[in-house]
Amino acid sequence: MSRLSVSGVGTRCKIAVSAAAVFAAFALPALGHTLEKHFPVSSKPVIVLRNTSGRVDIKSWAKPEVMVVADHTGKTDVDIETEQAGERIDVSTNAVEGGKGGDLTTNFTLMVPEESQLQIRTDSGSIVVESVHGDLTFETIAADVNLQNVGGYLVVRTTDGSMVCTRCDGTIRAESVSGNLQLFQPVMDHVTLHTTAGNILFDGDFLKHGVYLLKSDTGNTDIRFGRASSFDLTATSMHGTVVNQAKLQPDKHRKFHFPRLSSGFVSGSVGDGNAKVEVTSFSGTIKILNR
C-alpha cells in the first residue's frame, strides 16, 4: 500500500511506502478544510466510507467516476484518507494523534455511478442517499438515514437514528434500538424491520409473493396498504392491541384457523393472499389500515 500521511497543517510530513497494490492513497489533516478527489471507475464501484460525525450526502450521476468532497468543520484535526484499489474506494476520517475526544465533524458529498455498492458508516450526523442501486449498507449510532429512489439489497443498522426509505425497491433489512423505521411507496418483495422502542410505518403495496416481517418490541406499527395488495396477515401483540381495518377472510393457506383469542391477535387473508405479512410486537399497538 502506498500512503502519504501529513500531520499538522503543513508543519511536518511523514511518508511511508509499502506495497504498490493501491493506485492512489491520500491522507491529509483537515481543520476547516475542504478536500475534493475524483476516482475513475469502469464498472460497479464499491465505496466504503467510515466517518465519525457529520452529514453524508450521496447521489448518482452518469459519469464513470466517483467524486468525494469532504468538508471538515470540526474544531479538532482529522486525517481524511482516501484510497482506491481497483473498483474499491475507501474513505475514512480519523482523529489525528492527540485529537481524539474533540469535534471531528466532517461533511461528505459523494457522486457515484447509479450502480454502486455502498458501505457507509457515520456515528452521528445524517446519511442521505438518492438514486443509487446496488448492495447498500448503512450503519449509524445517532445519525438518521434518509433513502430515496434507491434499490438493491439494503441493510440499515442504527442505534438511535431513524430511517426513512421513499420509493425504494428490492430487499431491505433494517434494525434499530429506538429509531423509527418508515417505508413510503416501497417496491420491495422482502422487508425485515425490527426496532425495540421505535415505531414502524409501512405505507404502500405488498408485492405478489413478497415476504414482510415487521417487529417493533415496544413501539407501534402502522401499515397502510393499497387496494392492489393481496396478502396473508398475522398480527400479534403479546401485551398490546391490534387495530384492524382490513377486510380479512380466513387464511386460505393455513390448514388450521386459529380463533381470535384476544385484542392482540389478528389473522386472515386479503384478496388471494399472495404476499406474506407478519407483524409482531411485545407491547406496542399494531394498526392495519387501508390507504
Binding site: 460525525s53 482523529a95 456515528d123 449510532i141 422502542a197 401485551h239 411485545f282
Partner: protein, 214 residues
C-alpha cells in the same frame, strides 16, 4: 499461545486434554480463564440436559445461527459448521466472549423444543439459570463501557447511554413476563432477543470508544 489459538484448542481438547502451552496460557490470561469457565458451564448444562454437545440436533444450530445472523451478532462470511466449532468461531473477542457464550446456551434453551413435560420443565429451568449468567456477563460489559463514558456529553455517548437504558427496561419487562410464565416460549424469545440487542449495543459502544468522539 494467543487467545484465538487457545479458544480453538480448549474447544477441541477441553480441560483434561489441554496441551502444556495452552495450560500455561490459561494460567496467565484472565480473559481466557473467563471464557473457559463459560464453556465449562455450557458443557455442564448440556450434560444436565442429557445431550452430548456433538449430538445437538442440526435444527438447534441452524436456528441459533439464523437467529444470531438475523440479529447481526455474527457477520462473518464463512459458512458456519455445526457443533462446538461453530460456537467457538463466534468468540473472537475474549472480552465479549462470556456474554455470547452465555447467550448461546440461552438460545439453546429457548429454541429447544422438548418432547415431554419433564424436559419442558428442565428447559425452562435451564433458561432461567442462563438468563442470570447472561445478565451477569452483560452487566460486566456495561460497567466497562459506562466507567469510560459516564461523564461524556457527546451526542453519540448520550445516545448510547439512552439506548442502553431502553434495552435494560425492555429486558426487565421480558424477565418479568418469563418469570410469570416460564413456559411461554414467545416471552423467552423476546427476552433472548433483548439480550442479543444489548450485547450488540455494548459491542457498538466499545467500538465507538476506541475510534469516535468522546
Amino acid at each position: 499461545m494467543h487467545c484465538t489459538e487457545f479458544e480453538l484448542t480448549f474447544g477441541d481438547a477441553g480441560r483434561a486434554g489441554l496441551p502444556a502451552a495452552a495450560a500455561q496460557h490459561l494460567s496467565e490470561c484472565a480473559a481466557c480463564r473467563n471464557l473457559a469457565a463459560d464453556i465449562d458451564i455450557i458443557r455442564s448444562a448440556a450434560r444436565e440436559l442429557a445431550i452430548e454437545p456433538q449430538a445437538a440436533p442440526a435444527r438447534v444450530w441452524t436456528n441459533l445461527r439464523a437467529q444470531l445472523r438475523a440479529e447481526g451478532i455474527i457477520r462473518e462470511q464463512a459458512p458456519v459448521s455445526s457443533g462446538w466449532d461453530s460456537v467457538l468461531a463466534w468468540l473472537k473477542r475474549p472480552y465479549v466472549a462470556g456474554a455470547y457464550a452465555a447467550m448461546a446456551l440461552l438460545a439453546i434453551a429457548v429454541t429447544w423444543q422438548p418432547s415431554n413435560g419433564i424436559e419442558a420443565t428442565e428447559s425452562a429451568s435451564l433458561a432461567g439459570t442462563q438468563m442470570s449468567a447472561t445478565q451477569r456477563n452483560l452487566d460486566a460489559m456495561e460497567k466497562a463501557f459506562t466507567s469510560g463514558a459516564a461523564q461524556s456529553t457527546s451526542i453519540v455517548d448520550i445516545a448510547l447511554r439512552k439506548n442502553l437504558s431502553v434495552v435494560d427496561n425492555f429486558i426487565a419487562v421480558c424477565e418479568k413476563a418469563v418469570k410469570q410464565e416460564p413456559h411461554n416460549e414467545i416471552a423467552r424469545q423476546y427476552l433472548y432477543g433483548a439480550y442479543q440487542q444489548k450485547a450488540e449495543l455494548l459491542n457498538t459502544a466499545m467500538e465507538h470508544s476506541l475510534t469516535g468522539e468522546e
